[in-house]
């Protein structure tokens, strides 16, 4: 028995109905702050595909729809196995010592998966020069297995492009922090793996990347800091630097999968008030969001059948995570992108060498401080509110110091160190803003600052609290979010020293400008219309 439910998005609630227990599954539409459209979802009977002890997770449907690959820990560590959909038979394909996980099908029936085997302690491995990483392997239907990538890093969560040419995956290769970026490697051929989305620094990462069926968009789950939630993110495949966040900051969202027609995204999510992890459907153009009712237990890691009519996912109602299949039909009732055009209400302050000049021509003369430091009292044009703002300066560092030194700081009633550009003891630049509670949120440059030459630094706080840092025009790999402090008029701006006079920079500021919105020539925050419909961003 199927039922149809449709609720207006503003209701904000999940509709479920009692009925035939697990067999009856209803899914209603829920509100999304950005959306004014609805999804209409019908779900069929949930059917268990695996049983017994051990956890079966990370299922993916084969292109011909006859098999489902998944990972299982029935034997202790993770192995990859294949389920025959018709008869339920399970065949191990990558078993034995070590962890084999995150399977992904190629169009011609091969499997890509991540593999790592670490029998030694970390120090023993380091002493012996052993490989401590996770690499990608290729399993062929004839039983052969070959390495695709391998090294002293972790490659994981692979996906294969629809044409079978490339594998996208998360990798820690070359990273130094708690982080992972997105890499791509040709499935066949001699070309080498390449990083397509560098993310490094403190607790930032992009995991489970996949290209849309038409090859135009890349989708992944991204974390911008340990205080943040995983969020779904997408970008044009040709320009991953300008990405669009698809899910709200309030919820945790990961493990995204494109539907075969590219119109929907299934993912694992949790919001305040949910009973546990759930399967969500997202229409990325409108932001329409729907949580499927999957009954008891957590439901995670959805994957589409080739025709897009069913989902396979894991659920732990039995005590172990086991695989379940559920027919799903989703009608998109409105595909109008829900964009809100925000006026930028430009306010700006620019240093002309002696004063900060605001957009109306008002001037606040700089008061020379010790060394090359300058202080401006109550300059206009720095009341950024809660919207996007930028800080653009050119500085020269003459000599590094063993501790932090300030290049420029904006002092506010909300926080004395409202935003800052500074040089850390590790000689790298840092741009920071603040969270609504005053919490420090910032980005570090990829490399140390060279002394004795001008360096252009551009820091941007986007309206959604995300942060960006450009050094000499190049976007830095670090990212952060949650910087949503609202700025009232500035109490002061200081060049080359802290607002209270300390932490003086061994150098000078050559040029400075700041303001609401974005400076000319800088990529603005991506919008749904801009990404999916090719319109200019805000």
């Amino acid at each position: 028995m199927n039922m149809l439910l449709h609720s207006h998005l503003s209701s904000g609630c999940i509709l479920t109905a009692a009925g035939a227990g697990v067999a009856l599954c209803l899914a209603g539409c829920i509100s999304s702050p950005q959306a004014d459209s609805a999804l209409r979802v019908r779900c069929g009977r949930m059917k268990a595909l695996t049983d017994g002890p051990g956890h079966d997770t990370e299922a993916v449907w084969s292109p011909d729809g006859r098999r489902i690959a998944f990972q299982t820990d029935r034997q202790g560590d993770w192995d990859v196995a294949v389920l025959d959909v018709a008869d339920g038979g399970v065949t191990p394909v990558a078993a034995g010592a070590g962890h084999a996980c995150y399977p992904a099908w190629t169009p011609d029936g091969r499997l890509i998966y991540a593999f790592g085997h670490h029998p030694m302690t970390a120090v023993q491995a380091a002493r012996s020069g052993a490989d401590c990483g996770y690499g990608l392997r290729v399993w062929r239907p004839d039983g052969g297995i070959s390495e695709l990538t391998q090294g002293y890093w972790r490659d994981y969560t692979p996906s294969v492009t629809a044409d079978g040419a490339f594998v996208y995956y998360a990798s820690t290769r070359g990273n130094s922090g708690n982080s992972a970026g997105v890499w791509r490697v040709p499935l066949d051929g001699e070309a080498r793996a390449a990083c397509v989305l560098p993310l490094d620094g403190g607790t930032v990462g992009a995991v489970q990347p996949s290209l849309s069926p038409d090859g135009r968009f890349l989708l992944w789950a991204q974390l911008d800091g340990f205080r943040e939630n995983w969020r779904l993110t997408a970008a044009a495949a040709t320009n991953l630097q300008e990405s669009l966040t698809l899910t709200p900051a309030e919820m945790s969202a990961y493990a995204p999968r494109w539907s075969p027609d590219g119109r929907l995204i299934a993912f694992t999510g949790f919001r305040a008030g949910d009973p546990g992890w759930g399967i969500f459907l997202l229409e990325p153009r409108t932001g329409g969001l729907c949580r499927l009712a999957t009954g008891r237990g957590h439901a995670r890691s959805p994957a589409w059948s080739p025709g897009g009519r069913s989902l396979v996912f894991e659920n732990n109602r039995s005590g172990f995570y086991k695989l379940y299949r559920m027919p799903v039909r989703c009608d998109i009732l409105c595909e109008r992108s829900a964009e809100t055009q925000s006026s930028l209400d430009r306010v700006e302050a620019r240093w002309d060498g002696s004063a900060l000049v605001d957009a109306g021509g008002g001037r606040v003369a700089g008061m020379p401080q010790a060394g090359d430091a300058v202080r401006f009292e109550r300059p206009a044009g720095l009341d950024f509110g809660s919207g996007a703002f930028f800080v653009d300066l050119t500085l020269v560092v003459d000599r590094h110091a063993p501790d932090t030194r300030i290049a420029v700081v904006g002092q506010y009633a909300e926080h004395a160190l409202g935003w800052q550009v500074f040089v850390r003891e590790n000689r790298r630049l840092f741009f920071n803003s603040r969270g609504p509670d005053g919490r420090f949120i910032g980005i570090e440059s990829d490399d140390p600052v060279q002394t004795g030459r001008p360096v252009r630094v551009l820091g941007i706080r986007d309206a959604d609290g995300a942060m960006r840092l450009y050094v000499d025009g190049r976007k830095q790999a670090g990212c952060a979010s949650g910087a949503t402090l609202s700025y009232s008029p500035a109490l002061s701006v200081c060049f080359c020293q802290q607002w209270n006079g300390g932490m003086r920079l061994n150098g000078r500021v050559l040029a400075f400008a700041c303001g609401r919105g974005y400076p000319p020539g800088v990529p603005r925050v991506m919008t749904s219309a801009g990404l999916f419909d090719g319109e200019a961003g805000q």
């Binding site: 670490h118 970390a122 120090v123 002493r127 340990f226 900051a249 305040a272």
Partner: protein, 419 residues
Amino acid sequence: MTRRDWIAAAVLCAAAVNGAARFEAAALVDSFDFAHVKERDGRYVYDTETEAGNIAVLDHVLLTGARTILWRNCGGATMRYRSDEERWPRVEAPLDKRRLPDNRPVYGWLRYYETEPDILRHMLGVCRERGLRAGVHWPFEETHWASWTFGAWNFEHPQFWGVSPRGKVWAGRCSLSYPDVVAHKLRLADELVARGMDHLFVDLWRIGGWSPEYEYVPPEVSRWRHQFGSEPPQDPRDPRWCRHVAETAHAYFVALRARLAASGRPVRLMIGIPDVDGGESSEDTVLLTRGVDWRRLVREGVVDAIVVMSVKWEERAPLESTREIYRRVAAFCEGRCEVLFPVTQYDFTKKGIPSYCRATRLAPEAVAGELVKLAWEEGGDGICMECVDHNNYAPATCEVLRRLLDGACRWKRNRAITP
């Protein structure tokens, strides 16, 4: 011998005759912090996933004169022992894709939670065999990334996650207002008791998520509405909200105390408190940022010892203001619980030995000596050394510490016999 030496010797004799207790020297030790230490030739010094490696860690720690060794049970790279409570799902990155890998060699490859034998059980046993006090340093809600609260249990129980005033959920914290969460924490305590823990140090300094900010969960909000008939304040540092949250935290500590008592093992319960100024006010840092009323815990006899992690000493009178704070805290704890004062090389708070050095122009070993004597003279029951990493306490500092801890400050100060 100088007159001062004679006096000290007399104090020692008198203390011994009177059966005075040993002035305690506790060390917070994390095997993880020793894992990357290398010789000049690049060889790793400690293999902290082995018994021998951790015994080498202990030998190094003992150079400070410490006699109470508090081993970290979790943090940095999740659990430090084979915890049943935190066993599933595998939290090793990248096996759980919600955890980002730590890419620092060799930190990111440590798997203490799979090590045989169980490191924590082994080292607690080694400490007892050597006549040391064996305990656990439990960073109660540490939420640096890769820390244990982003681990198995939290990831499996999002329904108990903290919620911000704006409705944002967060994996780094599960609310103690849910009985399931309390039960989980108590089971973790059981695991520690089963491994031979005699001293449990719950470190409120290490928070991240240990904050009223993420306590806007349905049980706490409902309790507020029921109690006050209004919506809770949206500012998580509002003292009214913090006191409200502190009631839940207090109930947890009472439950923990009872659980330890029921174990049949006399486990001493200690809590670490930061940013102490010695005064009593609603602006208490621990209350406003941790949601814990430590003074109430002391008054009601819930805890056996307070470990002061840092004090708000004044730049213009570093040691004098420290003494005043120590005096006030000791007076408050007198007759209620023991109190340990910090001798902290770690300077994250800008109140440790390096900051004292800058403010006083004294050498680190001189500052360390002064802090030991201050703690002893003001009636403290001992000192606590934080982050006793490899050579974090320099050899000269260790020498001063040992000399005092084995000499003039060997026994707790007895006011009746102290000159």
